[in-house]
């Protein structure tokens, strides 16, 4: 062994910003996360030039996976052009030299904050979801050591109690986003704050979903063809947001998840939340030839 064999050639910067040991650690933890679907795996969560809580978990996974041939799409609440999404996309492109896209169909890697695109993801695509709070049990058990024991025992009685109390108090389940879901019949996970509308898209999906919480240092995954069942009572069926009948006032597209935009007169108009889907619908309306992918929801209904 010589000194030469122990060193590497000088590089101005680690490819993809993260250094080798950070990537290897995330790789090892991703392997375990995929092997035990929905189970939170602790990881080191290195510093990235972004404040924790702004997508650092998702960013670290993306930076570990990228290579110069991988086309990256980043969305924030469905929009490709929000500040958070644009900054993360530009950062990944700058440190990894990756091509970027806004089109879900063209993307190899999709990093997302709080939405799953409306077009069906393929089996070669990876969806990376940013997670603010990875612990579904936190509202019922703030002590994370006890929560870990509850996961180990599959002790989810309090989750059901919480849902029951909501129904008794309000007549319906009040959980809007991060709807607790049972993965592979064993671990309850939070699907990150995606709306209820998006949770059925994870069930037996073709794509790989990796959820990463940078601030909380937890990573978990939903492999393809894995059961993801929202917690419901058999006599109170799971309900998605009532958006099936809404029409986007800009693109005219109908039957997708909408953003409500309040108007001065007290009424509101709606705009499709998946911005690129809206853009493509407008371009098609204007006579351009645009490829629209198959959507999860058809006529506002998720086929079962």
């Amino acid at each position: 062994m010589t000194l030469q064999t122990l060193t590497k050639p000088w590089e101005p910067m680690s490819y993809g910003f993260l250094d080798g040991s950070a990537k290897r650690e995330i790789r090892r933890k991703m392997i375990k996360a995929i092997a035990v679907p929905g189970c939170q795996m602790p990881y080191a969560s290195r510093e990235v030039p972004m404040a924790r809580g702004w997508g650092t978990g998702g960013l670290q996974v993306s930076l570990t996976l990228v290579n110069p041939a991988m086309r990256v799409k980043v969305i924030d609440q469905g929009a490709d052009d929000s500040v958070n999404a644009a900054s993360i996309r530009r950062f990944i492109a700058r440190v990894a030299g990756t091509p970027t896209t806004m089109d879900t169909l063209e993307a190899d890697l999709i990093q997302s904050r709080h939405r799953i695109p409306e077009e069906v993801l393929r089996e070669d695509q990876v969806l990376v979801l940013q997670v603010p709070n990875p612990e579904p049990l936190r509202p019922v058990q703030p002590n994370m050591s006890i929560a870990r024991q509850m996961h180990a025992d599959a002790d989810y009685g309090r989750m059901w109690l919480q849902l029951y109390e909501q129904i008794v108090r309000s007549g319906r389940v009040m959980q809007g986003a991060s709807y607790p879901s049972l993965v592979h019949g064993r671990h309850v996970m939070t699907p990150s704050p995606i709306p209820r509308w998006d949770v059925p898209k994870l069930h037996m999906a073709k794509h790989l979903t990796i959820l990463s919480a940078g601030r909380e240092k937890r990573i978990f995954a939903v492999p393809p063809f894995t059961r993801v069942e929202p917690l419901v009572f058999s006599d109170v069926p799971y309900k998605v947001e009532d958006h099936a009948g809404l029409t986007c006032h800009r693109s005219g597209t109908r039957g997708f998840f909408m953003n409500e935009i309040p108007q001065d007169d007290g009424s509101s108009v709606f705009e499709v939340s998946d911005s690129e889907w809206g853009v493509k619908a407008i371009r098609r309306r204007d006579g351009e030839e645009v490829a629209l992918g198959e959507t999860w929801y058809k006529n506002g209904k998720m086929p079962s």
């Binding site: 062994m1 064999t5 122990l6 590497k8 050639p9 590089e11 101005p12 910067m13 490819y15 993809g16 080798g20 040991s21 990537k23 290897r24 650690e25 790789r27 090892r28 933890k29 991703m30 392997i31 375990k32 995929i34 092997a35 035990v36 679907p37 189970c39 795996m41 602790p42 570990t64 996976l65 990228v66 290579n67 110069p68 700058r94 440190v95 990894a96 030299g97 089996e123 870990r148 024991q149 180990a152 025992d153 592979h184 064993r186 671990h187 790989l208 995954a221 492999p223 393809p224 063809f225 894995t226 059961r227």
Partner: protein, 177 residues
């Protein structure tokens, strides 16, 4: 002028190796292509001084040692690299605990695809069921594996035949046909 970042050969290889490993475990039983033949590339992509490795093969052990990893007995190892799997190995590997399933080991082993036992895989990542023919493992390996593991405890397997890879995570139920 802005420089376009370019991965080094080492970085590109590790990235491609991990891509194959990740998809192999995400889709158990579906064969993936590794950038090159052998187990060494998996050591490069995953192992560093935070790891405890068991590796009967001398050259591979040297490579693992050079990354800074500790060489330990199979029971204490978080990664095991073995060209041939020994019959007692499933009973000796770390399976983690219910509290910390991530402490289960990763077994990277040589195998032969297309000759040997016909096995049917079901579980997460498998669309219905998938049947693969895997040889080069001890005769009662799959039964021993099933006995040694109680989900979510268990170990992951990355089976390598030349430059081809099949992953069998702990969530996969293996039935010998």
């Amino acid at each position: 002028m802005r420089l376009q970042p370019v991965p080094s050969d080492f970085e590109a290889r590790c990235n491609a190796t991990f891509d194959a490993v990740m998809w192999a475990l995400a889709r158990p039983g579906v064969m993936r292509d590794l950038p090159q033949a052998g187990l060494a590339q998996v050591v490069e992509a995953l192992i560093d001084r935070e790891c405890a490795v068991h590796c009967p093969d001398e050259a591979l052990a040297m490579l693992a040692r050079r990354t800074g990893a500790e060489l330990v007995a199979p029971e204490a190892a978080d990664h095991v690299f073995a060209e041939t799997v020994t019959p007692e190995m499933p009973d000796r590997l770390a399976c983690g605990s219910d509290l910390h399933p991530e402490d289960g080991a990763t077994l990277v082993a040589g195998a032969v695809f297309g000759a040997g036992q016909r096995v049917c895989l079901t579980g997460p990542g498998v669309d219905g069921e998938v049947i693969v023919i895997i040889g080069g493992l001890p005769g009662d390996f799959w039964q021993r594996r099933a006995r040694a593991m109680r989900y979510p405890m268990g170990f992951e397997m990355l089976l390598v035949d030349g430059a081809r890879l099949i992953g069998v995570p702990r969530s996969t139920v293996v039935e010998v046909l």
